[in-house]
Amino acid sequence: MFPPDAFRSGAGTSRERSVMTASQETVFLQGHIIDSLILAKVLDTILMMGGTFDLQDVTIGATREAPSQARIVVRASSGRLLAEILRAIQPHGAAIEREADCRFEPAPATGVFPEQFYATTHLSTQIRLDGEWVEVEGMEMDLGICVDPAKARARTVPMGAVAAGDLIVTGREGIRVTPLARPVERDVFGFMESVVSSERPHHPVIADIAQRMQKLREWHRQGRAGAKVLFAGGPAIVHAGGREALAWLIESGYIQVLFCGNALAAHDMEAALYGTSLGYGLTAGRSVPHGHEHHLRTINRIRTIGSIEQAVRSGVITGGIMAACVRCDVKLVMAGTIRDDGPLPGVLTDSMAAQQAMRAEIPGVGLALLVASTLHAIATGNLLPATVPTVCVDVNPAVPTKLADRGSFQAVGLVMDAASFLTELARELGWRP
């Protein structure tokens, strides 16, 4: 059902997470629980025993006779402690919500989910298999969940990748989604309220992002997991003059993964070969004779050489974003579109293959910067679990708004020009052009 190493990537971290979050249970309390201090007693008991709780759906009775209700998510560091806490609070009326195993059905055909398939969110999710809560691996929104009951494992699966007979979770029973806890860091991500405003002062936000990147680079150098920085960007970066700053960030080891399309790479290398971007002289700021041909000639040149890597290694492309990626061994995924010229060698023109290639680079990402590209920003945003802090920068407020609306505490939207953002970010990190 699964490829042999389908579970191998990130298995360590996901296992650890499952140990942490498996110990939670939702209980329901009702009656005159407020004035009797029964609710207070239950909550105090949870805390005194070393557990934590989330109080959900508290309904206070409208009249003195009407009962109140509370739904409480109880969490503990171990299953044993959780069981002790539940034993202690049950006599006070805290009833464990009726729980059932999740249901699943075989996929009726390759590339087709069962009719009632469960569609994922980007939040940490567990399913109940044979009485045990199992962490779903590879969390991503808008996918299905494929289970292997024999191994008690579950992982997300895109619709297009499902094979006939794969067991796919259906319905809503036996599935629980863990809301994102507010991050402990007291930076812009910790305080993030998903506000996107062009009036918002940019500097403190950029300073916080820089601080995060500094920390992640250090962690990455120490070989720690979850320290990769993902950058997804559009060609406006080159047009607007952010190319040098981005190349510097890559060369300085602040970025490990780059998602882009044909255009960013083409215009970056056009700039390297001709000093223009879509025919405009980057320094003179005006169109040069036959400049509109430059990007085509660039693409043709790279196609002649065979690959971007070869073009860099052979000294044809000496500077810029692509050169930095090749020199610094940055994972580059280029996804093509129907308006592409060429395209450049390495551009994935099968969009499902491109999505799969992008997905493969997500594990280990600890920060995502989505800059000046609606297409790549939204595509990347859809692939990211909610736990990854995400920064979306665009002159068009619609793009960061769309990403911030995904319900993540950790999505920061900045309405600003790509070059200004990158320049300011690089300066904050020590770039002195």
């Binding site: 009702q30 009656g31 005159h32 004035d35 201090l37 006599p91 009833a95």
Partner: protein
């Protein structure tokens, strides 16, 4: 006129041990128990002036005498108890039949919800209190609250000697409350304080609570209280209540006294 349901102690004895008071070797003196019960009836009927409905005792059900645990009666509706201990579960059908034969609408809770009647549900006209943890299940109270449209404040009973609310908590007419504070935890005491003002709360000393001072029957300004509780008796008389002391030590061997031996019918 108030009416109380009682059951003569013809078969009363210690057949089993389901609370810390009951010890089989501490046997009941049947004749003495009957005399004490008769004396209680005289006080209730003649001194206090209430009507008494006697139900038929049943051989093999020694605790049927404790009619407070039959259920709870409001108007013409009787909600019959569901006992925690199997020894007493056999009483349920007898109580249910008695209510049904007298035209009460008989209600029951889900059998998984233990609820031991007026022994664990007491109160003032607006607010009721429910004792839980020892016998009744706290989850019964939201259902009772819905059925009888009353606020019910659950109180955890933390001392197994005071296993029913009526062993440590006695609301009196006029809004006073006789109670043993140490039978409740700080949450329970705070909840009581929230509903009953300080000058209305009459704390019973533990030694008298252990002589069932709180297991009293209050009708109007008259209170029938087990003998041997001088402090509590004085407390009540200072408040203008008229007290009637009755010796009920044979029943205390089983963990009950005046209140446990009666159920208010209206």
């Amino acid at each position: 006129m108030s009416r109380l349901l009682v059951c003569p102690p013809d078969y009363f004895q210690i057949d089993y041990e389901i609370n810390p008071w009951m010890r089989r070797e501490n046997g009941v003196d049947p004749a003495r128990a009957v005399r004490q019960w008769q004396a209680l009836m005289v006080v209730l009927e003649q001194d206090v002036g209430v009507g008494v409905e006697r139900m038929q005792p049943v051989q093999g059900l020694p605790d049927l005498v404790f009619t407070a645990n039959a259920g709870v009666v409001v108007g013409r509706r009787a909600l019959v108890s569901r006992f925690r201990h199997p020894e007493r579960q056999r009483e349920e059908t007898h109580f249910a039949r008695w209510f049904r034969e007298r035209g009460y609408e008989v209600l029951t809770l889900d059998p998984s919800l233990y609820f031991e009647g007026a022994g664990d549900l007491l109160g003032f006209p607006d607010t009721w209190f429910g004792g839980y943890r020892q016998r009744s299940d706290i989850r019964a109270f939201p259902k009772l609250s819905e059925i009888f449209e009353r606020e019910i404040i659950p109180l955890e009973l933390i001392d197994s000697r005071f296993y029913h609310l009526d062993t440590c908590f006695c609301p009196l007419s006029g809004g006073d409350l006789l109670y043993l504070p140490s039978a409740f935890d700080s949450y329970g005491r705070a909840a009581i304080a929230e509903r009953v003002p300080e000058d209305r709360r009459l704390a019973v000393p533990e030694e008298e609570a252990l002589r069932f001072a709180c297991n009293a029957v209050c009708v109007g300004k008259q209170v029938v209280i087990p003998a041997g509780c001088p402090f509590t008796t004085k407390l009540l008389e200072d408040r203008g209540y008229r007290t009637h002391s009755v010796q009920l030590d044979e029943f205390m061997k089983s963990g009950g006294a005046a209140k446990c031996l009666t159920l208010a019918l209206d």
